[in-house]
Symmetry: C2
Subunit: 238 residues, 2 copies
Amino acid sequence: MMAMTKPARDCASHGCDRCEVRGNAICADLACEDRAALSRIGRRVHLQAGQTVMWEGDSSTLVANVIEGTLKLSTSTGDGREQIVGVVYASDFIGRPFGARTPHSVTALTDARLCLYPRAAFDNFAREHSRLEHRLLQRTLNDLDRTRAWMLLLGRKNAREKVATFLLDMARRLPADGNGVIDLPLSRQQIADVLGLTIETVSRQMTDLKRRGVIALEGRRGVCVRDARRLENMAEGS
Amino acid sequence: MMAMTKPARDCASHGCDRCEVRGNAICADLACEDRAALSRIGRRVHLQAGQTVMWEGDSSTLVANVIEGTLKLSTSTGDGREQIVGVVYASDFIGRPFGARTPHSVTALTDARLCLYPRAAFDNFAREHSRLEHRLLQRTLNDLDRTRAWMLLLGRKNAREKVATFLLDMARRLPADGNGVIDLPLSRQQIADVLGLTIETVSRQMTDLKRRGVIALEGRRGVCVRDARRLENMAEGS
DNA sequence: CGCGACGTTGAATCAGTTCAAGCCAAGTGG
DNA sequence: CCACTTGGCTTGAACTGATTCAACGTCGCG
């Protein structure tokens, strides 16, 4: 799959033209030749579910675009308690440009494909291409908004509200199959790590939501939102 | 104070030259004439403690540099539970550039002075001055890092760890007087809103820390860190 | 002095955790 | 093909850290 064939014509001479996420990634509105230059800096890599690409606290040497798959961003306390601080999807950007340290680990939740750049080279490229930098800024501002909204959940919502909010967020982001069932990219433990709960509490809340007919569960990872209105009410406090 | 006098010479012809925060604010490395242009867009405003400049969900019409004072960024649930998602100090930037809505309220905790810009004009200016945009990007990336670190606190730390972490953060950011006493810009309720706790729990933890000799309390807002090492241990889990 | 806002303290309650057991579906090997 | 393991998920019962509710202090200001 995805062999790096090299056609002849000027502007079609690099892999990006066939890139699945080009329209949404930060490279979207680069001129054709600039995109070619950027593509020369980067390389494609495949990750298996569970693989970690960047470690919290390590010096920041890599950044990347996510081409396919879902990854988690996480931090931990010294004694091993983990908090997932973000979940990223295709076309999202990962890594810490313009900074010495990677502030959180990045781990693949599903098999994934990345377009990986050495940070230093990327930084230089970005500084010379303000359209790219502008896109990166927009994306970072959005991330910051979403992260701050999540703080309200972590600090002030109870278990039911947390789980309901999480499910709505997932339903919004992930495609549903014909029966309206979505396939969660996270295990129960990982959901707990997103919500600041324990696995048991997550499980109990899910079961409770099922019992009330608000959602249906299909196997371990499948969920179907049956009554979105009610789920939304539960996500706030009512 | 701070009257907008207009001296005659070319490059000294705007208020910025006397600006207390110029070295650290996002305007820092603008060329002299660009800074003059930016200053023409903005205006200085004074805020009294308690005043709110921007409301969560309102359309984003203003952005600003903080010249003096401390402000809080906050979000609330429908039923009035509040979470403080950030505290900003002199030379920080506030507001949501390149976005339609302000995602959180901004309220002065102390009397404050801002350098306020209409968002649309600021956006245009920023798009044409990539050094400004670059600085804004750096700042936003830093904010995001700090915000994500705070998620670990909200999701995974207990009350003692939260309060200890908070105090260390404050001690790092605020100047201490001759006796090592810092003046907290936040009331107990606001500390609770930062940490995702209740006011009573914050009070109990502070008293406990005092009883153990780790900190000393001076009146309502004064704190002195007596044993920083021990406080650091408490901030993680030990 | 006395009022009002802010902070502390105590006792009871409860949401969520902890610990322990059991369940289920998917392998693995005899 | 069936016993047995394995890993993820659920369920139950006991426990506990933080909240809730209520009373009491205390500081600053008219």
